[in-house]
């Protein structure tokens, strides 16, 4: 499989530097933003000088995770569906000197992993979690997610979704994460900067990325297979925090805010445990 790299000598230098060429090409559907997020992640890693030796990728289950799994040249730990925060807690508590980047999806993080997610925020576990939000279960073929808009038709809500969606950034903020941001996959520079900030900041960094999933969200919710139309649907709903300040609540109805919601210094579980160990040693 290493021939892939030779066959494509024009593979992006970040790919050859940080990823396993034999695992390329990845599985993303045409028009999916996951490749874009990986690119932003690699940019952030590169700009901060992180290496496969000191950085571990952790994934859950779903499109977000299947695409990043065993791609990173360093260690790649792929957890059961929803359990990345639990696995990440074990990893980080044992190896606090390593950087951990967690890739999760809206189903993985908001549904089956919801409880673990809240507690990872509360503990302010010193990791970066990138949540890929495509508003639907992509890998299993278009079922309703906790992030699917009210009224949307999916394969499991053919009569329309009768549940309100989750705002995971608000959850993260309320639960205690040090850093919380939301961007579109197309917000290349701000997303890269956010990942960098998340890696630098002490405590839990939660970054939600809005992805245009033409294959399933397009097909079942918007009745289109064109990624551009899905992206347009996202773009029409997105408002920056800055702009939102001047908009009335009516105008903000059904809008999705993007930007940095939280940046704070708050000691997390790793620091707290290390000072506890120090205190006990001194007694």
């Amino acid at each position: 499989m290493t021939t892939v790299a030779k066959e494509f000598p024009l593979l992006h230098p970040l790919v050859t530097k940080y990823l396993r060429p034999e695992r390329m090409p990845h599985l993303a559907c045409a028009g999916c933003g996951i490749g874009q997020v990986l690119h932003c992640t690699l940019n952030a890693v590169d700009e901060l000088g992180l290496t496969p030796l000191n950085t571990v990728w952790v994934q859950g289950v779903g499109c977000s995770s299947r695409l990043s799994y065993a791609l990173w040249k360093g260690d790649s730990i792929d957890a059961h569906h929803g359990r990345i925060f639990a696995v990440g807690t074990g990893l980080k508590m044992c190896r606090p000197e390593l950087n951990f980047i967690l890739f999760t999806g809206d189903g993985d993080c908001a549904a089956i992993g919801g409880n673990h997610f809240i507690h990872a925020c509360r503990r302010n576990l010193d990791v970066v979690a990138l949540m890929f939000n495509n508003g639907i279960y992509g890998m299993t073929g278009g079922q309703v997610a906790p992030t699917t808009p009210l009224g949307a038709t999916t394969t499991t809500t053919p009569h329309g979704n009768f549940e309100d969606p989750f705002d995971l950034c608000k959850v993260a903020e309320a639960a205690g994460a040090s850093y919380v941001a939301r961007w579109r996959a197309t917000d290349f520079k701000p997303l890269t900067n956010s990942i960098k900030r998340g890696l630098q900041i002490k405590g839990f960094a939660f970054i939600e990325v809005l992805l245009a999933c033409a294959t399933n969200f397009g097909r079942y919710v918007l009745k289109t297979g064109d990624p551009r139309e899905v992206q347009k649907w996202i773009n029409d709903r997105v408002v920056t925090i800055k702009k939102a300040k001047n908009l009335s609540p009516e105008k903000l109805k059904d809008k999705i805010l993007i930007g940095e919601f939280m940046r704070r210094e708050r000691p997390g579980i790793v620091e707290n445990y290390q000072s506890l160990l120090k205190r006990i040693k001194e007694v």
Partner: protein
């Protein structure tokens, strides 16, 4: 008290398990409060930081077993403990540990079930649960069962050693009676305790294969941790030797065969039974854990009454000691298996392993109390007639 304990103590089984874990080199524990296992978490909450380890109370049972999986990948010896419905939840994470060949220890202090049952009282309903409860099959399992506080300590250490040797999760199947009974515990000097440390690869990262799929029986196989430059790939999906996900039949077959055979082809290292009064026995009583205590007492009553009754107790309960049971079955007229479940669990394994050489009877109970020696003795006498 800091560091490893040494000396003579009067403690409960749960405390012996906690100290056994410390002695074995466990430095990461994660649990969730549940009776009758929470004493293990409480003691380790005190002891882990004293020895520089980590003790976490997680948000639920799933998080605790998955976090010890993470800790295992990080190179730590790790353990979790639970009971009853907590074990049902643990099984979700167990599959991940089994599939990825992660060394760690799960303690099940069994209580009366099903469901919440009676939290504070004994039963033995998880004999099959731990062995077959993780969906997907395609694996064998190692489980040890103590009958005393001293054994709770000794077998916990053995669980950790076997986890490293076989690179897999290992169960300590305890029960409420052993967990809560206070007895004498002798903790030897650390230099007298045999500890198996994690084996690290000698091959350079580019040559090292994380999963030896081409040799389904190899044990003592190295396991590098994260941050050691080996780029380990751990996942819930069927994997190649390097850990890459695969949907090929070849990889599925090899992986499934390895997860079963690394244990089943090394039975010589995994047979551990206690035998008493079997030389001339015409009847045998076979059981495990807390049930072994009244059972042995009943055998001694029978002997006192001139009846030739023997006793056998699997200490390593999984893999089941088929050969040992068969040898007994060949010799005796019938076997009685008293155990604290009404559905008959170990009795089925005994019947299977006996291959029709002896009649096999079950003396069941829903738990709460163990059998009394007299109940077992009465049953032996009744069956003998």
């Amino acid at each position: 008290m800091k560091g490893n304990k040494t000396g003579i103590f009067f403690v409960q089984g749960d405390e012996a398990i906690a100290e056994g874990a410390i002695a074995a080199g466990c430095r990461y524990f994660a649990g969730y409060p549940i009776t009758p296992a929470q004493e293990i978490a409480e003691i380790l909450g005190q002891r882990m930081p004293e020895v520089g380890g980590v003790c976490m109370q997680m948000e639920d049972e799933l998080a605790s077993i998955h976090s010890i999986g993470g800790a295992s990948c990080a190179g730590f010896k790790a353990m979790t403990a639970s009971s009853g419905p907590g074990i049902s939840l643990k099984l979700e994470g167990l599959g991940w540990g089994i599939k990825n060949e992660l060394p760690y220890v799960v303690v099940d202090v069994q209580r009366a079930g099903p469901s919440n049952g009676v939290a504070t009282r004994v039963a033995q309903g998880d004999f099959y649960t731990i062995r077959y409860g993780s969906a997907g099959g395609n694996h064998a399992l190692i489980a040890l069962s103590p009958k005393s506080v001293q054994e709770a300590f000794d077998l916990t250490i053995e669980c950790f050693n076997l986890a490293e040797i076989f690179r897999c999760p290992v169960f300590l199947l305890c029960d409420e009676v052993i967990g809560h009974t206070r007895e004498k515990l002798v903790i030897p000097d650390p230099s007298k305790i045999k500890i198996v440390e994690r084996k690290k690869p000698k091959d350079p990262p580019e040559e090292f294969l994380l999963y030896p799929l081409d040799d389904d029986s190899v044990i003592n196989y190295p396991f590098p941790s994260v941050g050691e430059g080996y780029g380990i790939c751990v996942s819930p999906y069927t994997h190649t030797s390097k850990g890459y996900p695969s949907t090929e039949k070849e990889h599925q077959d090899k992986m499934a065969s390895r997860l079963t055979n690394k244990i089943m082809k090394n039975l010589d290292k995994l047979t551990k039974v206690e035998k008493k009064y079997l030389e001339d026995a015409e009847v045998a009583v076979i059981t495990f854990g807390a049930s072994a205590r009244p059972a042995l007492a009943a055998v001694e009553i029978a002997r006192g009454n001139g009846m030739k009754v023997g006793f056998l107790r699997p200490i390593i309960i999984w893999p089941f000691p088929d050969e040992e049971i068969y040898r007994v079955a060949e010799q005796v007229d019938f076997i009685l298996v008293p155990e604290l479940n009404t559905d008959g669990q170990m009795v089925r394994e005994v019947a299977r392993a006996s291959k029709g050489k002896a009649e096999v009877y079950h003396l069941g109970s829903g738990g709460i109390d163990t059998h009394l020696p007299d109940e077992i003795w009465e049953e032996i006498r009744r069956l003998k007639k």
